[in-house]
């Protein structure tokens, strides 16, 4: 029986074809890197079900999500998406945003409210429970968005550059929070980032794509230590010297 994410993604695009093989064990995190326009977002959207495949197959824990003649709609994939923009529902307050996800996962209204309450408490955002998103800072919004994504109980979480719109301090805090929560909830995740530091902090494995194809993959630390392309070398050079990768700690029992 196959578990985790098994994806052979082929999507035709006007300039080039995306053709990527991507496998991920349960409870692990994979970092996906590449220059702008390499096809990262298309891959994320294909896994989320927003983008149709030209060919190939995507399965999660043995269930085929996309493939020949199969296309499960996004809401039936149990795949969460945390993007660059938090996209909190503007007409709901913070608690309602989180409760919405729990309701969507099938919880009763009361249970969903409890889930929202627990999340806000853990994130230290209880004071903002009844605030609309517009009243929250960018960092606070992203934390609520993370809570909302995880409250839906996803089998896989797609994290698409959620730190890039935040200031440096908030980005570091947010990254730490994502790391902790992925670990605590045991959620399988794919993280898209421009930053080698993010990849080192969050992902055991790193997959680098350029113009739609995989150019290098392996253990994050190893890939960055032995860059195969100019792009990877630039990423490796941007990581602060002596930066310690933290997933190693997470993986050890």
């Amino acid at each position: 029986m196959t578990t985790g994410l098994r994806a052979a993604i082929r999507v035709a695009r006007p300039s080039f074809e995306i053709d990527v093989q991507l496998d991920l064990e349960p409870r692990k995190t994979l970092a996906l890197m590449g220059p702008n326009g390499a096809g990262k977002s298309t891959i994320v959207h294909a896994i989320a079900g927003i983008q149709h495949l030209t060919a190939g197959q995507i399965s999660l824990n043995g269930t085929v999500l996309s493939g020949p003649g199969v296309h499960l709609p996004p809401h039936r994939r149990a795949i969460g998406l945390l993007g660059q923009q938090p996209r909190l529902f503007p007409h709901f307050d913070a608690a309602e945003n989180i409760a919405f996800a729990a309701r969507a996962a099938g919880l009763s209204k009361r249970a969903a409210q409890q889930v929202a309450h627990d999340w806000l408490e853990r994130l230290g955002l209880m004071a903002f429970a009844t605030q609309r998103p517009a009243a929250l800072s960018g960092g606070q919004q992203q934390r609520v968005a993370l809570a909302r994504a995880l409250a839906a109980g996803p089998k896989l979480l797609l994290v698409d550059e959620p730190f890039s719109a935040l200031d440096v301090q908030a980005a570091v805090e947010m990254r730490e929070l994502v790391r902790e929560e992925l670990s605590r909830t045991g959620t399988t995740a794919v993280v898209v980032s421009h930053s080698g530091a993010d990849a080192l902090a969050l992902a055991e494995r790193l997959l680098v794509i350029e113009r739609g194809v995989v150019v290098q993959q392996g253990h994050t630390r190893q890939v960055l230590a032995e860059p195969a392309t100019e792009f990877v070398r630039a990423v490796a050079n941007s990581v602060p010297a002596g930066y310690e990768s933290e997933p190693e700690k997470r993986c050890s029992p």
Binding site: I50, P74, H75, I79, L81, H91, F100, R103, A149, A152
Partner: protein
């Protein structure tokens, strides 16, 4: 006081004259209604039983038409907003036809379809002994014919632009289509929906051509405000004064509608 900074976004002064002329073209005729009104008889004209009867009928039929347009128009708007671009374009063009058509033509078309001698008309008469022309139902139908496009196009525009990203987000959270519709799409489109309903009501209130042809002009049953105005205008002498008075009443209603619309525009809720 807020200081205004010229950042090069102000309109060039060359547009000033045509712009002022455009405003004059729109506003001066309405001012003439005010100045030409016979103020001494205005109150009596506006509160005469005939005027109140026509106003009451206009409000009742206009509201009913708006409710029915909302029930039929919102699902259609949703369908257009979620169709492929090609299908949406065709549907949108279809919906827009009554907008560019003279309402009279709509009245003729309704008469041909539902008239007493038409197939549908004969069926209605045989089944229920009911004839549409000259009935209040015909007034509502004529109003719906001309007002529905306003609602559909306004709501469709809002649905297409306001919520797409949030709907996708809701879907990735596992929310089914119905939940996305009722808890995300429609609430987010609420300002547009309200604007559409107000526009729809305003258009229904002002509807004349299709009503005159399809529903006729019977006081209390099909004589709405615009028909009462035209009838009064057609009477020589004193009739014209009451036509102006009734026009002012309708103008006041229109201004009220616009004030409501302004208050409910997206972003006005802060």
């Amino acid at each position: 006081m807020t200081a205004q900074v010229d950042v090069g976004t102000r309109a060039p002064s060359l547009v000033l004259l045509p712009a002022v002329l455009a405003v004059a073209l729109l506003v001066l005729p309405l001012m003439a209604l005010l100045t030409q009104a016979s103020w001494s008889t205005l109150w009596a004209d506006v509160t005469s039983p005939q005027a109140l009867q026509a106003l009451g009928l206009s409000l009742r039929t206009g509201l009913l038409a708006t409710v029915l347009c909302t029930l039929l128009g919102v699902p259609l708007a949703l369908l257009i907003a979620r169709s492929s671009p090609h299908v949406a374009q065709v549907l949108r063009a279809l919906v827009a036809v009554p907008l560019v058509l003279p309402p009279m033509v709509g009245g003729v078309a309704l008469l041909l379809l539902f008239g007493r001698t038409s197939g549908i008309g004969q069926l209605l008469e045989q089944l229920w002994g009911f004839t549409l022309p000259f009935s209040t139902a015909a007034v509502v139908m004529a109003q719906m014919f001309v007002a529905l496009p306003f609602l559909v196009l306004t709501v469709e525009g809002t649905l297409r632009t306001s919520g797409a990203a949030y709907e996708q987000t809701a879907a990735t959270l596992g929310a089914g289509r119905w939940m996305v519709l009722t808890r995300i799409s429609l609430p987010l489109a609420a300002p547009g929906l309200l604007a559409g309903m107000i526009l729809c009501f305003a258009r229904a209130l002002g509807e004349f051509g299709a009503t005159a042809l399809f529903a006729g002009n019977a006081p209390g049953r099909t004589q709405t405000m615009p028909l009462a105005i035209y009838t009064a205008f057609n009477g020589a002498g004193a009739g014209r004064e009451s036509a102006v008075a009734l026009s002012l009443l309708l103008l006041a209603a229109a201004v009220l509608v616009l004030v409501c619309l302004r208050a409910w525009r997206p972003g006005a809720l802060k």
